[in-house]
Symmetry: C2
């Protein structure tokens, strides 16, 4: 199976390293970062390319850019792992459209295009007879979409509850365990590299809301948008509120919640029993799926990380290989 890889940040490097290390029958024939690109139909020497990227800051030749790789490389599936832009979805959205129109399968970790244009992209993929998979967009290494699609096939999905943002969960864990204020815990999260200089996207629940939109659209096809999410962040939470919850054997977590029959689509800090499966520590993510037959299934795992995200992307690629590429 031949793959074109667009994006060579933390996630892209993780994918390239794992493909190089593991004997999965996958070769990468085209790669682009934001400044350059490289094509080799016989399969790129990944360790040489990654070394070039490390030493020079770009991976290929500046005459070749991402659209050239998507157009001209010889590949079965595009792996699109450029940074998320939640407002426009670009440049990933354009890359994904371009690849699907060339009848290439697409695997992405990019939340923007899937949150903004899932219905359009799914229809486009169906029309072109290719797969569009995005396991890495929600819950990092947690195989939530595989579980919904196959493990729980035949179930009616009634509701979904998730701890979908590791930064918030880290802050809340530290507030609960150490009695820190929100500001103290945020500072610590920054020092640990879990929070960015501008933490708005995480602490105001925007990141979790985007993931909730992706889950809802995938499960129920209801075409909801980021604006439809009733959203409250964790930035106004006080140590007093946390202490009150802890006094009752509960704690507070930022829960993303979708219950279509009640019209609920919200992200908010919620009081939750300490021994509930969704109460996970630190930067972990957790997702509870409520169904008619299986009742409640909870998945817990790492929500971020280079190798962890590569796990989700390779799971998608291997699924496409087994289902589509080997047949043809």
């Amino acid at each position: 199976m031949k793959v074109a890889l667009i994006g060579l940040g933390s996630v892209g490097r993780g994918v390239a390293e794992m493909v190089a290390q593991k004997d999965l029958g996958i070769s990468i024939t085209g790669i682009a970062d934001s400044k350059s690109g490289f094509i080799d139909d016989a399969g790129i020497d990944l360790s040489a390319l990654l070394e070039k990227k490390r030493s020079r800051g770009f991976c290929g030749t500046k005459k070749i850019l991402a659209p050239d790789v998507i157009n001209n490389a010889d590949y079965d599936a595009l792996v699109e792992v450029t940074p998320t832009n939640a407002m426009t979805g670009e440049p990933g959205l354009g890359y994904i459209r371009q690849a699907i129109k060339k009848r290439k399968h697409v695997v992405t970790s990019n939340k923007g295009p899937i949150a903004l244009a899932y219905n359009e992209l799914r229809a486009l993929a169906e029309k072109n007879g290719v797969a569009l998979r995005f396991e890495a967009t929600v819950g990092g290494a947690i195989p939530i979409f595989h579980t919904l699609e196959h493990g729980l096939a035949g179930n009616e999905i009634l509701a979904i509850f998730g701890v979908l943002n590791g930064t918030c969960n880290y802050i809340l864990t530290r507030m609960a365990d150490e009695g820190l204020t929100y500001e103290q815990a945020l500072l610590e999260a920054r020092e640990m590299g879990y929070a960015e200089a501008d933490p708005t996207y995480d602490v105001e629940g925007i990141d979790a809301a985007i993931k909730l939109v992706i889950l809802a659209n995938t499960i129920w096809g209801n075409g909801v948008k980021l604006d439809d999410v009733d959203r409250t962040g964790i930035n106004l939470l006080t140590p007093d509120a946390m202490r009150l919850a802890e006094d009752e054997d509960c704690t507070i977590r930022l829960i993303a919640e979708a219950i279509p029959k009640k019209g609920f689509l919200r992200v908010a800090p919620r009081i939750i029993e300490r021994n509930h499966p969704l109460v996970v520590e630190g930067t972990l993510n957790a997702i509870t799926i409520e169904t008619d037959m299986a009742k409640q299934i909870t998945l817990i795992g790492r929500g971020a990380g280079s190798t962890e995200t590569a796990s989700a992307i390779l799971g998608d690629l291997l699924f496409i290989r087994d289902r589509y590429v080997e047949r043809s």
Copy 2:
């Protein structure tokens, strides 16, 4: 897709009811319980048959038995849900062999045949070009095999840790939460219908060990047997031991554990931190998979129940339908 269903206890009834209720494109053309059988190539009227079973105690005519249904019905996949016999695997093992030799796919919830003869049955299924799936044998509704096979495809599985027996977990939860003795908690579990009159199979860790054998053989193909499991039950556990653990923010759970690189294959009560994802309450099951890329993924869900087990079986059937039956 046409299905023959062998076994009409709690699990079999769950499957029949769900197939009748849901529009899954599945029809059941043959059914047998331990005393009788019924064949209808056009698809059995399931509500009439279940009513017959309820009122008379058997589902069909006594001239037709399970082997006749397996031989003579028109079906794509056998659903084998007869009771587990951990020593011989029978009668399920014979039924499964018979169906595979007739080139029928097989889905089973029966731990005996898979724990005793996985390698043989897998080879037989491969030779005959059919699928053998057994999601319901471990962890009830938890889609552990789907997760290992697809969600975590490409990962190297390094270790597996599980709370695989709901009866033991209920007893340990009650000992921890209420300070009950083992005997008191067992009595309560019996009254709740969670423990059988003879609880040996559960409390001595045999049931968990069988499930561990199935996991190990499936993941690592190492051909281990029940006798290879280093096994300690919960029946000698004292309230003092539990209190000591709880004093350290830990608790005790019966953990099934396989770490091939260390040569570990054991089921034993283990002291475990209270906030570890494997610490689940009551009759829940939980499984942590440790891998090279995803690191630790934990799945939590109901380990038993008629509808919950039907969820696992239907997941297997629909996977077979999508992967094999639609193609042909």
